[in-house]
Amino acid sequence: MNSQASISSVFQKLAKLWLGFLLIMGLFSPILVNEVPIIEIRNQKWKVPILNKKSYFLADTIVSPPEFVIHPLFRFQSGIQLGQTLKSPTYQFWMGTDGYGRDLRAIFITGSGTTLFIAISSVLLSLIIALFLGLLSGFYGNSRFHYPKWGLVILLAVGIVGYYFLVASPYFNFQYGSYYWLLLMVALSWIVSKLKWKRLVLPIDDLVRYLLGVHQSLPGLLWIFLALLVFTKVSILTLVLLLAFLRWPGMTRLIRGETRRTANLPYLEAAKMSGLSDMRLMLGHIIPNLRDQIFTGIIFSLGNVIILEAGLSFLGLGLAPDVATWGNLIAQSREYPTAWWLVIWPGLFISITVMSLYALTKNDPILE
């Protein structure tokens, strides 16, 4: 037992090292990999070209050589480098080069930044959605969410009429009419909920489960295909939204289940007895208790999202093919089947990263 514990702790340490390494690579990727020098002195003038690339290229750099230069670790040239495309690993490029002639080490560093940014932001977005829906459905269940009966009618009427006047027709001709409408609806629903009218029980848990059911009735990739019909161009923002859309049901299920479990614990009963509002119960007493589960959920979602993003890039539906990401490298390997280094490295990085994420928690990712 002792030896096993020590083995797993060694694994954990290695995993933390790897993740920290990746994070540092991602954060400092503009300094580590860049096409312009970090600092240079030319004609007794200091310059920091990485802050303003365009003006560096516009300036005449050939006439006078700089007196002092600090180059980044790898000089990453954008555009196709005809001389060095598809070099197999050698002494100079020990990870090889890709179809555009870029050093794979440089792509690994910049790609880790892109991948981590996309993964972390989409998981945080899905966490926000999941916290909202999961807490609502888990805390109130089907029988405890009351709402003024006539308030619902008012909301519906104001919603339709307000949509008509603010969004659909040109009376006010606001530029962001739909945002005003959303704001109006949120504010109105909050005000109506404070009214002391006769109340109706809303099956909020069933509503959330219905949303989950709709999401589950299609394979995830087909949702992405449908989204690609609407947004024709994929940018980092749309990718983050898409991945968050794919991940929220899993997180919601987790938080809903844990909230249901927590809501029946004695300490919460006691807090309820002392007359705390529902909002304070949820924010101050349930969420702190869900800390570990939320951490586990984030870790597993991160792993999942990294694989998904790579899969999308692999199909050619992710970011543009010349953007340096790990998935785009595997996608290139379909074009150049003989270049084995384009297959092995990114796949290894992806799976090692996901494994090290999973090593951070004690739970079994498969059973979760």
Binding site: G213, S217, L218, L222, L226, G311, G347, Y358
Partner: protein
């Protein structure tokens, strides 16, 4: 406190009774099925409305009539476009019922193509006077018709026509004066631009309360549903072939792939799960757990790429050539039947392995957990202490129960299986639903994707229904989750 005796609790007895009351259970599940299906249908309709414009452009540009008629002048082309809008019923309101502003006519949707409609709507919100706009556009159309009747030898006829038609979707352009034309035409063009200036200065009173308008069956939603389920006119926007036939041809391959990998993953899960559970404190079991985790984590598209690179390498650049790199192996159909079967099976080995291993890891872990739980129950201990050997006790008291519970996962893993099949089919070039969807996305073939999405939705929902039904029929312990 958990008692050692596993007596059925009150809730599970209730559940057992509920499962015997089959019709009400069935009605409830069918209602759920229909609700989800209709929701997905509505989402698809919303996406269809969003993509109408691009789709009709593709349909027109790929249609045989347009391709064969290069000699049409712009006005005839405009009329042909209008006929296409009518054919695909894009000249009717969206839904059975709708709100309409009092200044907007109920015939606004009849204005096609979309560029003309948006311009005239914008005009309407400038001057609020529909009859005047109608008179204005009628004047332009009359002028265009007049130009198109002119003999083809007329100089600059095409340019004049294009300039005339442009006024349907944009304000009159002063550059028209630079085209050489007869003085009568020139004065007519001038007339129209004067009319436009007048239109811009008028302001009719703007109505306030919207009307509720009943459109009846003459709406896009009704026609779309008729198209989807009647089969008439539901054609691919790229090559004009019938979508359902295309999907049926592709569905067979996905069905074969999916069934094979489901079968292997379930069998593999039962065999492996039992073996790992028996040796729960062994080093072998720990090792197996790690292998399972790796199987779960390794992305299947990467493994498939590696497999093609190193096991199916026809160019012999460092890999073996054991398997074919892709395809289905029935290209030459005059072979012997058995040869075809064997060849196809040989082609499907790698895809099925790549599709099976993540599912198998998932199911094995769950099955192992269930078997371990069963092994710690009182009845299992009793069976052992009565002298049954471990293997027999497992086969009689632990495996069957957990095999039933494994069926519950059938509905849950279906979306993952279809997603996986999509990528695997693309990599191994198997003409299944996934590859069809991928090709349709790349070619922007909306109708085909909508059809595929519907088929996938039905398959997933039916498998969930089936999994519920089987597990309730076989295993009376399972209670209805919603109760």
């Amino acid at each position: 406190m958990r008692s050692n005796l596993d007596l059925p609790s009150i809730t599970s007895i209730k559940g057992a009774q509920a499962s015997k009351n089959m019709p009400s259970w069935l009605i409830k599940n069918l209602a759920k099925f229909l609700l989800l299906f209709i929701s997905v249908l509505m989402i698809l309709f919303a996406i269809k409305l969003k993509t109408n414009e691009g789709q009709i452009e593709l349909l027109i540009s790929n249609s045989s009539e347009v391709a064969s008629s290069r000699t049409l002048d712009p006005f005839q082309e405009f009329q042909l476009t209008k006929s296409y809008y009518h054919k695909y019923s894009l000249d009717v309101p969206n839904f059975y019922i709708g709100l309409r502003h009092p200044n907007v006519p109920d015939t606004l949707e009849r204005i096609t193509p979309f560029s003309h409609r948006t311009f005239q709507e914008a005009l309407l919100w400038e001057c609020h006077d529909w009859p005047k706009i109608q008179a204005y556009t009628k004047k332009i159309l009359d002028l265009c018709r007049e130009i198109s009747i002119l003999p083809n030898s007329t100089p600059y006829k095409k340019q004049i026509l294009i300039a005339g038609l442009d006024m349907m979707s944009a304000p009159p352009n002063s550059a028209v004066g630079s085209i050489k034309m007869s003085s009568s035409l020139q004065s007519k063009f001038k007339n129209i631009s004067v009319d436009y200036q007048e239109l811009m200065t008028t302001k009719a009173p703007l109505g306030f309360f919207p009307h509720l308008q009943w459109n009846g069956k003459n709406c896009q939603f009704h026609n779309w549903i008729k198209q989807l389920f009647g089969g008439q006119g539901f054609i691919s926007s790229v090559d004009g072939s019938a979508v359902w036939q295309k999907i049926w041809a592709a569905f067979k391959w996905t069905f074969i792939l999916g069934t094979l990998s489901l079968l292997f993953s379930f069998i593999g899960a039962i065999v492996l799960g039992k073996k790992i559970a028996v040796k729960q404190y062994n080093a072998q079991s720990k090792f197996a757990d790690i292998i399972l985790l790796w199987m779960y984590v390794l992305p299947s598209f990467w493994v498939a790429s590696m497999a093609i690179r190193f096991l199916a390498d026809p160019s012999k650049t460092g890999g073996f050539t054991i398997f074919p790199p892709g395809g289905t192996g029935i290209e030459n159909s005059n072979d012997n039947f058995l040869v075809i079967i064997f060849n196809t099976a040989w082609h499907l080995v790698l895809p099925v392995i790549c599709l099976t291993y993540p599912l198998m890891a998932y199911l094995t872990a769950h099955f192992k957990k269930g078997v371990l739980q069963s092994m710690s129950t009182a009845y299992f201990t009793t069976a052992i202490s009565k002298g049954l050997n471990l293997n027999k006790a497992l086969n009689q008291h632990a495996i069957p129960i957990n095999a039933y519970t494994l069926i519950q996962f059938f509905g849950g893993i279906m979306p993952a299986l279809l997603s996986g099949a999509l990528i695997i089919e693309v990599i191994f070039n198997i003409p299944g639903l996934g590859r069809l969807a991928y090709q349709s996305v790349l070619a922007k073939d909306w109708n085909c994707i909508l059809g595929i999405v519907l088929v996938n939705c039905i398959v997933v929902l039916l498998s969930q229904l089936l999994a519920d039904a089987i597990s309730q029929k076989l295993d009376p312990r399972t209670t209805d989750q919603s109760q």
